[in-house]
């Protein structure tokens, strides 16, 4: 379905990729110190507690930083953004910003975003982000 490099799911990341398949962006939260973190691991990277919970994130984020790549890459049509977004819950993740012109003028740092999921294989749906629309400000949940 896509020439994008496919993630190979590992036991510790299975919940994340199961989530994106069903339209959920999942993070982990430490029950001992309340730290919310990403990428997945079965213990808290802040306090090392193994009492951690998986939960569904809001799917809302802001644009933290990005580049617009202008060189050819298999599976991508340049120019395309490679971005890091800051999730409402705190952690940051890499993604692409979609449904918006791939220009510096359109892509403003700190703009509000929401997650959308793009299925790229039987097993993998990627979390991408698009501008938070006026219609989605009240519901706002990553579908």
């Amino acid at each position: 379905m896509s020439e994008r490099p496919l993630p190979a799911i590992t036991p510790e990341t299975r919940h994340f990729w199961d989530g994106t398949q069903t339209g959920e962006l999942r993070l982990q939260k430490c029950a001992a110190c309340n730290h919310v973190y990403f990428p997945p691991r079965p213990f808290c990277p802040k306090c090392a507690s193994q009492d951690v919970r998986v939960f569904r994130a809001s799917g809302r984020a802001t644009l933290h930083s990005y580049v617009i790549h202008h060189r050819p890459v298999p599976g991508f049509v340049p120019p395309y953004s490679i971005a890091v977004v800051e999730l409402e819950e705190g952690p940051r993740m890499m993604t692409n910003i979609v449904e918006i012109e791939q220009t510096p003028e359109a892509l403003q740092l700190d703009m509000q975003l929401e997650v959308v999921f793009q299925r790229i294989s039987e097993e993998i749906s990627l979390p991408l982000f698009r501008p938070l629309g006026p219609s989605s400000t009240s519901s706002g949940r990553g579908k």
């Binding site: 930083s65 060189r71 890499m94």
Partner: protein, 380 residues
């Protein structure tokens, strides 16, 4: 470790530099190693400690005919050699070996005998970065910069100035690959690679290598070259994923490695006569100047603009022309170290007057690792 108890007594780059289609990667290690041994008046049989990256120590030891009692294959990217120097200081001081050879050789451009570059799909980077179209350092190392520019109100013109100033140094180095003067407009009109990064803000891709030989300060006095004493060192790592770098305006690994090196050397910033900061891209000297504490947060671009790092400036920086204009094989840190050694010896092409203390600061991966080495022309 007592500052100045270990010294660099041999240093050399590969005979050729830039485009070397007639040498494989392992031969690049050997070529610079043989040059460094000649520089120090030694034979491979005199070496009992070996450190290298790119090739594992087994490969280099076998190829050169070295029988080591100590090896270090630390491979954390382009600053691995700063870490090797730090580890060698510890190993020699602890009596694990007497004479250490550190080698770098990389066929970065011709890619002869070089390992393929790939990201493991099951790694965290393979799962959470690779699917979004990262494709080599220009798509990763560059990502934090828009945040830096916005936070401190720094312009792309100021970023371009880094490349302009370093080209001025390169013009004074016959071995530099790019020597023609450039302007800010040239940089901003060069090919767009990954906005906001243009071609001339990105490092070169070359073939080459370099080697260092270290021994105790007591033995160093018997070698043909003027010893370059190691006053202090530092190292750290942060994250293999650029997206997980804690602060996009500052490198934790830079701060930890830099402070450790300065503290162990017992130096202040005002003691530093010459500085190298690994410049894979134009923003790295800005982060380096701030994270090492030479200037305050957000002040590095203005410092560059005021020509303080340029020829004739008060803090000569990247005097070989750097990874942007001198050479960049992939793991450039060795070339930064070579230039520091030349400056302390007094043999550099763009020699700075009376260099007593030199700081050499490296990065590995995309702000993933860091190593810092403080050198001096005398024991404290």
């Amino acid at each position: 470790m007592k500052p100045g108890s270990i010294a660099i007594v041999g240093a050399a780059e590969t005979t050729g530099l830039g485009v070397i289609p007639d040498m494989s990667q392992i031969q690049l290690h050997a070529d610079c190693a043989l040059n460094a041994l000649r520089d120090a008046g030694l034979k491979p049989s005199d070496i009992d400690g070996l450190a290298c990256a790119g090739e594992i120590p087994t490969n280099v030891a076998h190829y050169l005919g070295i029988v080591p009692t100590w090896v270090d294959g630390t491979a954390v990217g382009g600053c691995s050699f700063m870490l090797h120097a730090r580890h060698a200081v510890a190993a020699i001081s602890a009596g694990l070996c007497k004479t250490v050879l550190i080698t770098h050789g990389e066929s970065g451009r011709s890619r002869i005998g070089a390992q393929p570059r790939s990201i493991l799909p099951a790694s965290l980077q393979g799962q959470f970065e690779a699917p979004f179209g990262i494709y080599g350092p220009p798509t990763m190392f560059t990502i934090p910069v828009l945040r830096y520019l916005k936070t401190y109100g720094v312009t792309q013109e100021q970023l371009a100035m880094v490349a302009v100033v370093q080209r001025e140094w390169a013009a004074r180095n016959p071995r530099a690959m790019m020597k023609d003067p450039i302007t800010v407009a040239d940089v901003l009109n060069s090919k767009m690679i990954a906005y906001p990064f243009r071609l001339l803000m990105c490092c070169l891709v070359t073939d080459g290598g370099g080697a260092l030989i270290l021994t105790s300060a007591e033995r160093a006095k018997d070698f043909p070259q003027k010893p370059v004493y190691i006053l202090g060192t530092g190292e750290s790592v942060e994250t293999p994923m650029i997206s997980q770098m804690a602060d996009f305006t500052s490198s934790r690994a830079f701060r930890v490695a830099g402070k450790t090196a300065f503290d162990s050397a017992g130096i202040r910033h005002s003691d530093v006569d010459h500085l190298m900061i690994y410049d894979a891209f134009a923003h790295l000297p800005l982060y380096g100047l701030e994270d090492l504490g030479f200037v305050g947060r957000g002040e590095a671009a203005a410092f560059f603009g005021a020509r303080h790092t340029a020829p004739g400036g008060k803090l000569p920086l990247n005097t070989n022309g750097g990874g942007l204009s001198y050479t960049h094989t992939g793991m450039y840190g060795m070339f930064a170290l070579q230039e520091s050694v030349r400056q302390v010896r007094g043999t550099a092409s763009a020699q700075v007057k009376d260099v007593q203390v030199a700081v050499c600061h490296g990065v590995g991966g995309m702000f993933a690792a860091s190593g810092t080495v403080v050198m001096a022309d005398r024991q404290p």
